[in-house]
């Protein structure tokens, strides 16, 4: 019996939920048992941050990949993946604030302002927050034409996340360079959309151009 598209989507979503949620639970469990090395706070911050970046990249893979493999449910899981990226980003920020800074609000604000790598990290998190709260269908309908340009901000945000990662390292550039390379390759599939994001032309001019092309 062949599965309906609807069922395939449910299966894919379930699989993604397992693959993306369970590692977080597992790592936190290990940390609480003091089985995450000598510095579990640092390990958790690094794990959640790097996971957020990896999930963001996973999200960027979907649109270029979908037409090539013709697996319809794939396009249906973009929001799920995006929200998981935000989920890990929240765990990352909360771990930093709760376990590292130990709930010191003035220290947090001071660090955000004084340390460039944290400033750009907060910028990235805020963008993910905005994208997350505007991800629901009813919000999308309300925003209409403005929704897509807003969500295209992700193309700027992922490189910023890589920069945040690079600036946080004591030394070494190879790992962030690899992530940057992957990100740039994935962004190259959206060259036109990104050019539009940076050009200051009004939306209607762009729509005109598009209709002329077609």
């Amino acid at each position: 019996m062949k599965l309906k598209t609807k069922d395939k989507t449910i299966l894919l979503k379930t699989a993604l939920h397992c693959a993306l949620f369970i590692p977080a639970v597992w790592v936190f469990y290990l940390a609480m048992q003091d089985q995450l090395g000598a510095d579990p706070v640092q390990a958790i911050i690094h794990f959640t941050g790097l996971s957020a970046l990896k999930v963001l990249i996973l999200g960027l893979v979907i649109s270029p990949l979908a037409p090539k493999i013709k697996f319809i449910p794939l396009m249906q899981v973009r929001r799920l993946v995006g929200l998981y990226a935000f989920f890990y980003a929240c765990l990352h920020l909360l771990s930093f604030f709760i376990f590292d800074l130990q709930l010191d609000w003035p220290l947090l604000l001071n660090e955000i302002v004084k340390r460039p790598y944290i400033t750009v990290g907060m910028f990235a998190w805020l963008v993910l927050l905005i994208l997350s709260v505007t991800s629901a269908m009813f919000v999308r309908r309300k925003l209409g034409k403005r929704w897509q340009p807003l969500h295209n901000l992700i193309y700027v945000t992922v490189p910023v996340v890589v920069l945040h990662f690079y600036w946080s390292l004591k030394s070494g550039w190879i790992e962030p360079a690899v992530y940057l390379l992957i990100t740039l390759v994935l962004l190259s599939f959206r060259k036109q959309k990104i050019q539009r994001l940076f050009s200051h032309k009004s939306f209607s001019v762009q729509l005109k151009k598009q209709s002329i092309k077609q």
Binding site: L36, D39, P40, A43, K114, S171
Partner: protein
Amino acid sequence: MLIKKKGKNHLTEAQVTDESIYHQRRDLIKKMGFVGAGGLLASSNLASANPFSFFTKEEKPSFETKTLDFKSAILDEQKRTPEAKVISHNNFYEFGTKKSDPVENAQHFQVKPWQLKVHGEVNKPFTLNYDDLYKHLALEERIYRLRCVEAWSMVIPWLGFSLAKLIQQADPTSDAKYVAFETLHDKEQMPGQRSRFGGIHYPYVEGLRIDEAMNPLSFLAVGLYGKTLPPQNGAPIRLVVPWKYGFKSIKSIVSIKLVKHQPPTSWNQLAPKEYGFYANVNPDVAHPRWSQASERRITSGGLFDRNRIATLPFNGYGEDVAHLYKEMNLKKNF
């Protein structure tokens, strides 16, 4: 600060147990079924910081440490960083850049034969071989805080002897203004030294001003927690300068050279705006990218341990070393 004072219990060379007897005792203990503590700890969960390593656990040989005879310092057991953490969380890029790399990659490290040259602007240069390291000067225990520039710290019971005593034996000349240290350079044993993509220029080098080196706190450690150093902690001999950031405490030393001019130091070469020559622990001088005002003290707690503490000037050793920098601008000379 806990330096054992020389009293009637002070051990002399003659009282240090002969090595052959050590091995016999160890053999006996082994035959009774107790695995060497080094072996147990190296394969503990703490040593593997990869939380998903279910399918990759292999039996790796462990470096054999031996117990040493020394007079212990009086200490508060609870405040020390557990030994398992001390030996599994290390920055020793010669064996890889992850904190868990040194314990995983250094177990095959050969410390015999070893040569530690004490030379340069001295009247009586000499070389210590492996056995000399433990016999040349009586061993004492010192419990020091080690503060990493990354803003974490540990409390470690080191075993060794005063750097000043060793230098005095070489009889430095009046031209000896600085002390330069060098780590072993052996790409076969230390895979991290083969890296061709930038990073530290090996061999790792460090330096102290002569008065810093002659300060009573400056320590050459040959052991920790009652045993010889595991390779990931800088076997067989390393420096401990507790009032400076940890990267000054150079590991696996092969050369101590008295020199006229300020010697190059590895992290300063790599990022001069971030790592200075002096590298005194100073909460008022931030690293360009992060604050040094506080640190996470690694103890026996886990994730919920409230272990963020204020960083003290000179890592709390100001009473013994602040006078060395009386006239200096510590913001400029960081």
